[in-house]
């Protein structure tokens, strides 16, 4: 694999993590920790795949993925925001349920194939040597993820609604006292986050590896969760971190292709070990984490108490 293709592949793999992790970032900025990312991604991967199989349209695939992600997030949101259930346990339930449901509902799609993939290339820029192949011949979703990152930076730090969202995550009591509907804002954030996780899931099954197999997201939802901490809750760092992890994933194939004598199983471990290493490095300084982390993450909020 040429180094240009390697960069391209890293961006491709990183886009999945970026989309999901940006979604989780919205949740966390509003004070909600959703451990259900993996489950939402699996169900939306299946939904996206099925939609493309039946309609042949990849836009429908992404739409179906986002819809399923948002719907599952709504269920999670209702439980944790209105019924006050434990966020850890409920998110875990969503992950386990999503894995089970997608495996069950997806049995008949295992042997399906998707229509031939289209090759994308930006005119002119795509013809440039090296950079054309590395950066300008990607699936549109790669650029959309970049735009979402930019949009999110603007939203969080330059708009009034972004400020309200962050205040809900920092101090729901104060936001409530100022007259904001903390619960609805949180539900909105959770559903928007679910939709992004859904988009990531649909990308996995319709673009990244266009097929459906049980458990195909292989922990990407969990890695995306780690990324928000790694990025100290900044959208741009989430994007860069996602590309870094995408690179680690690709390096594994690169090493294999280069004939390095390491068993493939050890190479397969790399993304997971890298996540652990990064978590260790980033968490060593608890003060730094505490400074950046939205203060109410994981804590329930009841307006009438």
């Amino acid at each position: 694999m040429s180094s240009a293709l390697l960069v391209a592949a890293a961006l491709d793999a990183g886009t999945i993590l970026a989309l999901a992790s940006l979604g989780l970032l919205i949740n966390e900025k509003a004070g909600i920790l959703n451990l259900g990312a993996e489950g939402m991604m699996l169900c939306s991967a299946l939904a996206g795949f099925a939609a493309v199989v039946h309609t042949g349209s990849s836009v429908m695939g992404f739409g179906a993925g986002m819809l399923v992600g948002a719907a599952m997030a709504a269920l999670f949101g209702w439980l944790v925001i209105w019924l006050g259930t434990n966020q850890y346990a409920t998110g875990l339930a969503l992950s386990l349920f999503g894995a089970g449901l997608s495996a069950f509902a997806g049995t008949s799609y295992v042997k399906e194939k998707l229509p031939e993939a289209v090759q994308y290339k930006i005119p002119l820029l795509g013809d440039l040597p090296f950079v054309g192949e590395a950066f300008f011949s990607q699936h549109p979703m790669v650029y959309i993820a970049m735009c979402i990152t930019a949009g999110m930076m603007w939203f969080f730090f330059k708009t009034r609604s972004g400020l309200v969202l962050r205040s809900v995550g920092e101090s729901p009591q104060s936001a409530h006292a100022l007259g904001y509907n903390v619960r609805l804002i949180r539900l909105g954030a959770v559903m928007a986050g679910g939709a992004l996780c859904g988009l990531a899931g649909a990308y996995v099954s319709t673009v990244y590896t266009p097929l459906w197999v049980e458990g195909m997201t292989a922990g990407k939802g969990w890695i995306a969760l780690a990324l928000t901490t790694f990025a100290t809750w900044r959208p741009i760092r989430v994007l860069l971190g996602a590309y870094l992890f995408g690179g680690v994933t690709m390096l594994q194939f690169q090493l294999q292709a280069a004939g390095v004598h390491i068993s493939s199983q050890f190479l397969n471990m790399m993304p997971y070990l890298a996540t652990i290493v990064v978590l260790v490095l980033i968490s060593r300084n608890p003060q730094w984490i505490r400074l950046n982390m939205p203060q109410s993450i994981g804590k329930p909020f009841q307006p009438n108490s």
């Binding site: 451990l35 489950g39 269920l75 439980l79 209105w82 019924l83 006050g84 259930t85 434990n86 850890y88 346990a89 409920t90 875990l92 339930a93 969503l94 386990l96 349920f97 999503g98 894995a99 089970g100 449901l101 495996a103 069950f104 049995t107 049980e214 292989a218 922990g219 969990w222 890695i223 969760l225 780690a226 901490t229 068993s263 199983q265 050890f266 397969n268 471990m269 997971y272 070990l273 996540t275 652990i276 978590l279 260790v280 968490s283 060593r284 608890p286 984490i289 009841q302 108490s305």
Partner: protein
């Protein structure tokens, strides 16, 4: 309109009744799923709740599957009570299985049956080591135990694959990724003839009993729980949070590892890529449905075992994918969490103004 009000005191009734209500809700939704798929819901009920207990052989299979679930769930109950979120029991189970397999492979045709003891000790040590990594990284570097323990599941899966595709592959196995079948001396002794239930069941029950004593009758167990519920109070009382963390992860890792060892040296009898069966994740649900209580875990492990057997029967008898088990497991945990709201809250009816 309906309104949720906080109760003055947590309801003891609902603390006990909530799992039962959650089961009812799960069954109701489950029957809805059967109807929606054009299957007979009564047959569905039979397959899940009657077939697994209708004969003594069926019951023995139920107990066989409940054994690993109970063991892991009891360990996890201690963990969750200490507010340590170990969700990687599946990985600790796998490493326990690998360690047990390593010892079992050393057996020769004239090895004594006592080799079962080192096999199980190796399994416990393997699980503890895997849980210990989580404790170490949390303790030394403050790394989130949820993510670390989960990442280690994927690492453990790859480790198992490496062993069965690589160094431990059976040379006479037609290149299948599996170890040779373990010598018969390594078989965990069976409880009685005619069934596959091993002394693992007794170990699991003893483990549940031991944990009950630990949690409710010892000072260390008390300190462990205070540390989980009220870290500030625990600090004030001089209970060490670090000790609590290590204890929780070593106990749950050890139990999960033991479960893995009992499976590979018991019903499976060799290492294959199919050793991980999701028990580590299902046991999380078992622990919660059992109210994080050792006795509750016995009941919920039996229930979850029914889900597994029911899923297999639904596949063979009703033509449904056996992954329906996973759907029901998830539904059960969701319903339980929703029903648990009734412990702290009261639903009241108030006329709209």
């Amino acid at each position: 309109m309906f309104e949720l009000r906080n109760r003055a005191e947590a309801s003891r009734f609902w603390a006990a009744a909530s799992p039962a209500l959650a089961l009812l809700i799960t069954v109701a939704i489950g029957m809805g799923i059967f109807v929606a798929l054009g299957k007979d819901p009564v047959q569905g009920l039979q397959v899940f709740f009657w077939e697994p207990i209708k004969s003594s052989y069926a019951i023995s299979e139920l107990l066989l599957k409940a054994t690993p679930l109970l063991l892991i769930a009891v360990g996890l109950a201690v963990c969750f009570r200490s507010n340590v979120w170990n969700i990687g029991a599946e990985g600790q189970y796998i490493v326990g299985a690998i360690a047990a397999g390593g010892v079992a492979l050393m057996a020769t045709p004239d090895t004594s049956g006592w080799i079962v003891v080192p096999i199980l000790l190796a399994a416990i040590a393997g699980g503890m080591a895997w849980g210990g990594i989580v404790a170490l990284l949390r303790d030394r570097f403050n790394a989130n135990e949820i993510l670390v323990s989960l990442m280690l599941v994927y690492v453990a899966v790859q480790l198992l694959q490496y062993m069965v595709y690589g160094p431990w592959k059976d040379p006479n196995g037609y290149n299948f990724p599996q170890t040779k079948t373990f010598e018969s001396a390594t078989q965990i002794p069976k409880l009685m003839g005619g069934s596959r239930v091993t002394i693992g069941l007794l170990l699991a029950l003893a483990g549940a009993g031991g944990m009950w004593v630990y949690l409710y009758r010892t000072r260390a167990g008390f300190a462990q729980q205070v540390g989980g519920m009220a870290p500030a109070a625990a600090r004030y009382a001089g209970f060490s949070a670090r000790k609590g963390l290590w204890t929780a992860l070593l106990i749950s890792g050890g139990f999960a590892g033991l479960a893995g060892g009992l499976e590979v040296a018991g019903p499976i009898g060799q290492l294959t890529p199919y050793v991980p069966a999701g028990y580590g994740f299902a046991a999380i649900i078992v622990a919660f449905v059992g109210r994080l209580h050792p006795v509750g875990a016995v009941l919920s492990a039996l229930l979850m075992s029914m889900f597994y057997i029911g899923g297999e029967l639904a596949q063979s008898r009703m033509g449904l994918p056996k992954s329906i088990t996973g759907v029901f497991q998830g539904l059960l945990l969701f319903s339980l969490l929703a029903c648990d709201m009734l412990i702290a809250k009261q639903i009241t009816w108030r006329r709209a103004q």
